[in-house]
């Protein structure tokens, strides 16, 4: 019953899992984007190169997407202040909980980490609550 409509999502997920596998088996590193980003500030100098390279790959990927499949990319809704508030919460939250959608949601759950399972259930829940609240009180987006 899955049908063809979810093929892109499944294939995209497979690529994400594969990207994580390349990093895990190639460099013994976890493909958690918030951790890789955060390590830019706190890591020793010898630990920076692979982080910068990974992030460059993500960014160049974005550039290629913009050129080949511009419909795949869209800006976030809302004013710049709204987006900044979102980014601040994401930064504080992922630093405190040591992971985001990739680190906890994909990598952690893949190795059946109870910690990551809890984190993923919590951020999905509060994400849903935030979307619901925005719809209710602001009529969708700011």
């Amino acid at each position: 019953m899955v049908g063809e409509q979810f093929l892109d999502e499944i294939a995209g997920g497979v690529l994400i899992g594969l990207a994580g596998a390349i990093l895990l088996l190639g460099l013994s590193r976890v493909a958690g984007v918030s951790g890789i980003l955060g390590g830019l500030v706190t890591s020793a100098r010898g630990d920076l190169g692979w982080r910068v390279s990974f992030l460059a790959g993500l960014g160049v990927g974005g550039l290629v997407l913009a050129l080949l499949a511009p419909a795949a990319l869209a800006p976030a809704s809302g004013s710049l202040a709204w987006v900044a508030a979102s980014g601040l919460l994401v930064g504080v939250g992922t630093r405190l909980s040591n992971g985001c959608t990739s680190g906890h949601g994909v990598s952690g759950i893949s190795r059946l980490s109870p910690r990551s399972l809890v984190a993923t259930l919590v951020f999905m829940q509060t994400g849903a609550l935030a979307v619901g609240a925005v719809h209710h009180w602001f009529g969708g987006g700011q």
């Binding site: 409509q5 499944i10 294939a11 995209g12 997920g13 497979v14 690529l15 994400i16 899992g17 594969l18 990207a19 895990l24 190639g26 013994s28 493909a31 951790g35 980003l37 190169g49 692979w50 390279s53 990974f54 992030l55 460059a56 790959g57 993500l58 960014g59 160049v60 990927g61 974005g62 550039l63 997407l65 990319l73 869209a74 800006p75 809704s77 987006v83 900044a84 979102s86 980014g87 601040l88 994401v90 930064g91 504080v92 939250g93 405190l96 040591n98 959608t101 906890h104 759950i109 893949s110 809890v118 993923t120 919590v122 951020f123 999905m124 829940q125 509060t126 994400g127 935030a130 619901g132």
Partner: protein, 145 residues
């Protein structure tokens, strides 16, 4: 140089996956989180695909003796941090990966998002000395059976 190439390739494949899956369209992400409204469940299949592949990678990694060292505690810090992250995610529809992809595509708001995210990281690091304990992996010989 080889390790840089591996990391770059991983990032590139990651970006392609996020783009194909629809994770770089904030409106689609928000529709996935809108469980109480017109819920679009399709992004759940992204997790299914990613976890299926990545679970195999962990099996191989374990067999090769790659040992992971992570914080184990399920505490207020984990739950509170995840809760804040979820709210931030729900405001814009961007989580860190798609935001970096969007930066590369030249979206101005993604740079604002990333700058704010850095600020958030720095805030926690500034006021909490224990926050340096990131996920770490060490390669070690596999334990004898």
């Amino acid at each position: 140089m080889r390790s840089y190439a591996i990391a770059f390739l991983s990032g590139l494949v990651f970006a392609a996956g996020l783009g194909l899956a629809g994770m770089t369209q904030p409106a689609k992400v928000l529709a996935f989180l809108d469980i109480g409204g017109a819920w679009d469940p399709s992004l759940a299949f992204v997790m299914v695909g990613a976890i299926a592949v990545h679970a195999v990678a962990w099996q191989i990694a374990t067999r090769r003796g790659i040992v992971i060292v992570v914080p184990k505690a399920i505490d207020a810090r984990l739950v509170g941090g995840a809760a804040l992250f979820g709210v931030g995610w729900g405001l814009s529809g961007w989580c860190p990966g798609p935001a970096v992809v969007a930066m590369g595509s030249g979206l101005e708001s993604a740079w604002v998002f990333a700058l704010a995210m850095f600020w958030g990281h720095a805030l926690v690091t500034r006021f909490d000395l224990t926050s340096g304990e990131d996920i770490r992996l060490i390669s070690a010989p596999a334990p004898a059976k």
